[in-house]
């Protein structure tokens, strides 16, 4: 379904379009392929993999997607309650456990409601139908005459049955058919409402809410001693001295991997400090040039170009004016408030030894494989159970610390180990969002319409998560005496895209070229940070469309609408412009300005249009975002407040990336080690935010978690240009940079 939609979306642009991806999954070409099922049901086809109905009056939903504070557990319970006709309080959701739940890969890319929600919806609709037909047989009535209320089935003449008494008779251990029709939106009792999130109360009452809160009998506290720089190797260290320290139970050294376990947490920290002091490392200057020189370096590496989309027209009007501009984005950090943490325990002995890891990884199955590969054991000997961590916004140190804990716990004679990264471990070793260079080109005809558009980009990979090859993508694997490496990753293919996510513009143009230079060799580790390449590509493209509008002498909103036919896109643009108080022709006054931007996340997910108001202090260079108004179309809405929360958070986080954030390094070492080196937005800097939701109950769910990041950045850039007449093309817009630009 996804493929046919994306195909239509691309064909709408007309002309000769070449897209560098296969439209249909391989299986679809094979005659023997099973029927395609909706959402994640397609890969996890058994009904009992998704839900269990118990005689005690409860329903358990199993989801491979994990809770990371985005509210997925609540949204799934809402969907299940509606399809089954039971109260939400009966429903428990179990997330991400390799012993219990379906394998839904990573919880990433704003796909949880799309994939897991769709699967739960169809699985529950089918289970309801099976329960009703069992009730019909039992009561000797037609299933069509039965009504369900909170699991109690009522038939004609006062006949009743219930899910709970039928649970033992209905076998869900069978392949889903997806033939039972989910309810229309008009019959929803839970979906579409702002139901309070189920994960929140325990977070404000001191409940055990996070992996950090797990306490097992006999548990030790672990710390890791990481190299001082990405290219460093451990030459020597006084392990014996550390072993003699109070409380120390184990010191593990394997190649350049060094870790310590102690009875008390503060003892582990002290031992870490001692090991750090005695360790001698051989360092080498492996890092690229920093500052603005980085971007020329990335371009000059000469990595071959891949054409991702190309369209030409012989009949298009000729160019009256051409424009070119280069935009850049630095390495940026996830910066989770809680550094990564995991609990690991080895059970049994000898060949029968089994590892159990509690992890805040976004993908318990992929992690299991990479742990097994790094440890040289079978995946079946590893169980990964998800427990929440601090918000991750992509691939942070979660997977890495799981291996650290497993390696350390191997030396503690069966005692569990909770390994907590320190702040500098996280800042120095989390995989960053890649630095990027975007070169935009465009041409206008005599009427000021776009006749050509080009987007060329340079980037390191955006997904080096576990689960991609035979080796291991975890950090410690490469530090071991016998390193376990991994095959080079591939970029996430279009239409979603990775480095090139959102590089294909939404605007109609007869001539188009999108080119990618994927720099596989990255001396600084890079991986998925909320939107992958989407943030930088949308920042560039939506800044550039404003530059084209200015060249055409057109209003930015009118100029966008002129090049877009899709009514859903037009609707969000018009809604944002209206609520944001957009007034065509309004001039910035030198310090205050208003900017606009639009993007459909991945060109497949939710539609977001955004107006940002800024003030620029010309003396200090300080930019403040004072207000932002977003209009969002996420298809059918499951939980309105959940969407608003994601969009609000996305706008503020993106403002932080855009105004402040850059990972610092020299030729050898990463210099960003604490919050003092990596300022983020604070309370006195956050804008007022208004979110307008365009509900489309008749449309399918569209993921929303990452929708605001790109448009927020571009709207801020456009607002600064509107205020001051100066176009900023290099992120972040720090005071120094703004001051220089305005001087």
């Amino acid at each position: 379904m996804k493929t046919s939609l994306s195909r239509r979306a691309f064909l709408q642009t007309g002309g000769a379009l070449v897209i560098g991806f296969t439209l249909l999954p391989e299986a679809a070409w094979s005659q023997a392929a099973p029927a395609s099922l909706p959402g994640s049901l397609n890969r996890n086809r058994m009904l009992n993999g998704w839900l269990r109905i118990d005689p005690n009056g409860t329903v358990t939903i199993f989801s491979g997607k994990i809770e990371l504070g985005q509210g997925i557990g609540t949204a799934l319970a809402q969907i299940a309650a509606d399809e089954l006709d039971v109260e939400m309080k009966r429903i428990e959701v179990i997330h991400g456990d390799t012993a219990l739940t379906p394998n839904e890969g990573q919880t990433a890319g704003s796909q949880s409601v799309q994939d897991s929600g769709t699967a739960v919806r169809f699985a529950c609709a089918e289970a309801r139908e099976m329960l009703l037909s069992a009730a019909a047989a039992k009561l000797a009535v037609s299933a069509a005459d039965l009504r369900v209320s909170d699991g109690t089935i009522a038939g004609p003449g006062g006949a009743t049955a219930s899910y709970w008494e039928l649970a033992g008779q209905v076998d869900l251990k069978r392949e889903a058919t997806a033939q039972a029709k989910p309810k229309p939106a008009s019959e929803h009792k839970w979906v579409g409402k702002s139901i309070s999130r189920r994960d929140i109360p325990k977070k404000f009452t001191g409940g055990a809410a996070y992996v950090q809160d797990i306490r097992l009998p006999g548990m030790l506290f672990g710390r890791v001693v990481r190299p001082p720089s990405p290219g460093a190797q451990l030459a020597s260290v006084d392990e014996a001295a550390a072993r003699r320290m109070p409380g120390v139970v184990a010191v593990v050294r394997d190649g350049s991997f060094l870790a310590v376990a102690a009875a008390r947490e503060e003892q582990a920290i002290k031992a870490r400090e001692a090991l750090k002091k005695s360790a001698v490392w051989k360092e080498s200057a492996t890092l690229p040039p920093s500052g603005d020189a980085l971007y020329d370096h990335m371009v000059n590496l000469g990595v071959p170009a891949q054409t991702m989309a190309e369209k030409t027209s012989a009949t298009a009007a000729s160019a009256a004016r051409t424009l070119e501009a280069r935009y850049t984005r630095p390495y940026q950090a996830h910066g989770s408030i809680g550094p990564s943490c995991a609990v690991a325990v080895w059970e049994g002995s000898g060949d029968g030894r089994k590892l159990h890891v509690w992890t805040h990884s976004q993908g318990v199955y992929p992690l299991r494989g990479d742990l097994a590969n790094a440890l040289g054991i079978e995946p079946a000997a590893v169980r990964c159970t998800h427990a929440e961590g601090a918000g991750c916004y992509g691939h942070n140190g979660a997977d890495d610390v799981a291996l650290d804990a497993a390696l350390l716990a191997r030396a503690t004679s069966g005692r569990p180990v909770k390994l907590q990264w320190m702040r500098d471990d996280e800042f120095m070793w989390e995989p960053y969002g890649s630095a990027m260079v975007m070169k935009l080109g465009g041409a206008l005809d005599a009427q000021g319409n776009i006749v050509s558009w080009s987007h060329e980009l340079w980037s390191h990979p955006h997904s080096t998560r576990p689960g991609q090859s035979k080796g291991s993508h975890t950090l410690a694997a490469r530090h071991l005496g016998k390193p376990v490496t991994a095959d080079p990753v591939r970029d996430v293919p279009l239409p979603a895209g990775g480095a090139d996510r959102n590089a294909i513009p939404p605007y109609e143009t007869p001539n188009l070229k999108v080119v990618k230079h994927l720099i596989l060799d990255s001396p600084l580790r890079t991986s998925a940070l909320r939107t992958l390449g989407g943030y930088a590509n949308v920042f560039a493209a939506e800044s550039f469309v404003d530059e084209l509008a200015a060249a055409a002498g057109a209003d930015p909103v009118e100029f966008r609408l002129r090049h877009i036919k899709d009514p859903r896109v037009r609707a969000v643009i018009e809604a944002a412009a209206q609520r944001g108080g957009w007034s065509p022709g309004a001039k910035g006054d030198g310090s205050r300005g208003r900017g606009f931007a639009y993007s459909r996340y991945k060109n497949l997910g939710c539609y977001v249009a955004l107006v940002a108001d800024v003030t620029v202090d010309r003396k200090s260079g300080r930019v403040r975002v004072t207000r932002a108004v977003a209009a969002v179309d996420a298809g059918q809405i499951v939980n309105p407040d959940g969407i608003v929360n994601q969009i609000e958070g996305g706008i503020i986080q993106s403002a932080s990336w855009t105004l402040k954030e850059e990972v610092k390094f020299d030729a050898t070492r990463v210099k960003t080690r604490s919050w003092a080196d990596y300022p983020i937005v604070r309370f006195d800097e956050v804008p007022e935010i208004e979110v307008v939701l365009l509900n489309r109950p008749e449309e399918r769910f569209l993921g929303v978690g990452e929708g605001a990041q790109g448009p927020a950045a571009a709207a801020i850039a456009n607002a600064i240009a509107h205020a001051t007449g100066k176009r900023l093309r290099a992120l972040p817009f720090t005071r120094a940079r703004v001051k220089t630009a305005l001087a």
Binding site: S196, F204, T205, G206, R264, E266, P339, D641, W675, F683
Partner: protein, 154 residues
């Protein structure tokens, strides 16, 4: 190691630790309190904030020996899931978090603020919380939650 008698959430609790052990680890590991969180260990983020004699302190850099003289409060001492404190109730009602990791530090800082200033302005709330980092960017909801609690308490 030395023995300390801590007054935590109105109860006396005995612990044995090095005098320089950070209060945070004693609260989390010896007393099994989940509220205060390890975020940075550098007093930069506020996730570990607890009250000592009503004043917010960063428990990650406060030695247990220094805290032993005072009355220590954590979010567990405010209220329970069954009987929520107005601040806890307000944070839940405003859905004032995504991941929530910074939340209990925010609540404790807000508690101290409302003690000394029962009707703070929006600006004063933001000033009081400015030393606390929230990466999910729930700032506006957190401010609204403090406003809501202030209203209920006054």
């Amino acid at each position: 190691m030395a023995k300390f008698t801590l007054r935590v959430n109105g109860e006396s609790r005995s612990v044995t630790a090095e005098p320089d052990a950070a209060l945070l680890y004693v609260l989390r590991n010896d007393l099994e309190l989940n509220g205060p969180k390890f975020g940075c260990g550098l007093a930069q983020c506020g996730a570990c904030t607890v009250l000592v004699d009503g004043k917010p302190v960063r428990s990650c850099v406060t030695p247990v020996s220094a805290a032993a003289k005072g009355r220590i409060s954590t979010i567990e001492g405010l209220g329970t899931a069954e009987k929520l404190h107005p601040l806890q109730k307000a944070f839940i009602e405003e859905q004032a978090c995504q991941c929530g990791f910074c939340g209990s530090g925010m609540v404790m800082e807000a508690k101290a603020l409302l003690e000394r200033k029962p009707k703070p302005s929006e600006r004063e709330i933001k000033q009081a919380l400015n030393g606390h980092l929230c990466r999910c960017a729930s700032h506006n909801r957190i401010v609204r939650a403090v406003q809501r609690a202030a209203k209920e308490l006054s």
